[in-house]
Subunit: 332 residues, 2 copies
């Protein structure tokens, strides 16, 4: 089991990525030989030395894709980027999974073209584990695909359902379709078509849910089109940051007692993206995890943990099997 | 100046509505003669007596529309409902504005059909004042229209801009278009078409914004299609409730000092829908305010305050003028 790690992706790369790797090794999440670090050797070798990380392989990647760069252009012109090099390592069998906190569009494009999509999957989707009252709720798609068809939503439901089993141990994950009401007649044509089909693909389909049901933990998986998912994620992140600031401000002059501080810390951790180990891009031929651009060492470590678990649980094989049985009607 | 008040709409109607009216009168927001209470006289007369509210006119409305009832059917079959009676009071000139915390779909349908839409407005939109770091941010549409065209988004921008001036005293409200990135090339065809047109209609158009910019207070008005707006609102409400619960739980055994409690209370009030006085339905011929189904007395009072202010500031006239000048190109 080996994971290709994009060392150059993220606001504080490469230092933060190497720090995350060091943390992962220290905490027993992975060993040095589990990792291929993709990036510029001249930048990475000193960092590995600082963290006394011996035995970590570096795959030289001279090009760097900026966070704001056009994905299509980067895919064409920067074939020596850490994203390209990492994807090729997976294609060549030198790695089983890829993680990156870099340019999301570039990762999606490179994964689709270099790794390739699973059979019959037209549009891979990004699944984000979002906080809920009952643990992580997997929301798919958060913006990989903004030209969404009902077929895509159905595939998202099947793929994220398998992912929730493997990543969060849900036996029969319940899947909700995000809508603006719970009645069967509510929703636009895309939603209504998907609603009909989701009842016949052999998943544990709950039906329509609404925005408040995500944090409410009504279901394990929420399916929506990429535009909506992206907005939901950013609204939630913005609100989380706002509330954390407000509470901090309220305590500025009068710090809370230790028990209260600990309880608040536990609560706010639930709202912290870093806990969840990145968002899998589902629908491509290997585990690919996309981290937040702001990823810190802890987030990088959790991405390594999740990539390892996805590989060891053969998530991609399960997804392929379910997609195929949903097409042939051989549903369990 | 008179406001038709739907006394039968909302989860705790009519008692909560009458309580809100009593609060409004007590706090000088309105006088008894400013209000026409629409609902069942047998239910309302005793409540008015309990609150010692003399001189409040009741417009008898024998039918009641349930919160979950189909709007189209209710519009046809319940012509004696408080929503119908209130709208007719406005049409007949016995009231200037209408407020309801009842069935949103029924209010939208009745306002469109009975009051009528403004010239050239095909789809009225619901504008929700949402909390932000810089005071209320008006988000339109929150679900009145789920078949959105670029023309509708442009009209929403113009109308909500006028509303933000009148309701929140913003001199030149900045208007953002909700998208999933800030680059000019990002977004679906609907968004890209609206983006081009919004630059030419004489509003203070900021450009694209993302989900986190709503709470961030980047702009005064956010334009989006109804499906997205509805999801945003419900995600935000759900998160607000979650965080409030978590903080309460953290303090369960160790209540905070008084200064801290007051600071937290101020913060959470910013997230409280009841502060903002309901959501105007923009694009119909009179001020119509829609309240949350869970509206309490304070929310009802604030709706009365906002309806009064919208009437006195001639918001509808300003909207008509701006819509018309944006069509003839006579932009200020």
């Amino acid at each position: 089991m080996r994971i290709a790690v994009d060392a150059m992706g993220g606001d504080r790369a490469p230092s933060c990525v190497v720090e995350g790797l060091a943390l992962a090794i220290k905490q027993g999440v992975a060993s040095a030989e589990h990792v291929v670090l993709c990036g510029r050797t001249d930048a990475l070798a000193p960092l590995l030395e600082t963290h006394a990380l011996a035995g970590v392989e570096i795959a030289e990647a001279p090009d760097v894709i900026a966070m704001t760069e056009s994905a299509a252009q980067a895919l064409r012109t920067k074939r020596g980027s850490s994203i390209h090099v990492g994807m090729k390592a997976v294609v060549d069998g030198r790695a089983d999974a890829f993680i990156s906190a870099g340019n999301t569009g570039a990762v999606v494009a490179a994964a689709s073209v270099i790794l390739g999509r699973l059979a019959h999957v037209h549009r891979p989707g990004i699944a984000v584990p979002m906080p809920s009252r009952r643990g992580p709720c997997v929301v798919i798609d958060m913006g990989a695909n903004i030209y969404c068809k009902a077929e895509h939503l159905v595939q998202y439901a099947i793929m994220a359902s398998e992912y929730a089993k493997a990543a969060f141990g849900r036996a029969q994950p319940s899947v909700g379709l995000l809508n603006i009401g719970e009645e069967d007649s509510k929703g636009n044509p895309l939603i209504l078509e998907a609603h009909g089909r989701l009842q016949r693909v052999g998943i544990n389909y709950y039906g329509f849910i609404e925005g408040q049901d995500i944090i409410g933990g009504t279901v394990d998986v929420v399916v929506c089109e990429g535009f909506v998912g992206n907005v939901v994620l950013k609204v939630a992140e913005g609100l989380g940051a706002f509330v954390t600031d407000q509470v901090r401000e309220a305590f500025r002059e009068h710090p809370p007692r230790e028990e209260v501080a600990r309880a608040l810390d536990r609560s706010f951790r639930k709202l912290d993206y870093a806990e969840y180990g990145g968002a899998p891009l589902l629908g491509v031929k290997a585990p690919v995890l996309i981290g937040h651009g702001r990823s810190e060492a802890r987030a990088v470590m959790n991405m390594i943990r999740v990539a390892r678990s996805a590989t060891e649980h053969s998530v991609i094989d399960h997804i392929v099997e379910r997609l195929s049985s949903s097409r042939t009607g051989a549903l369990s």
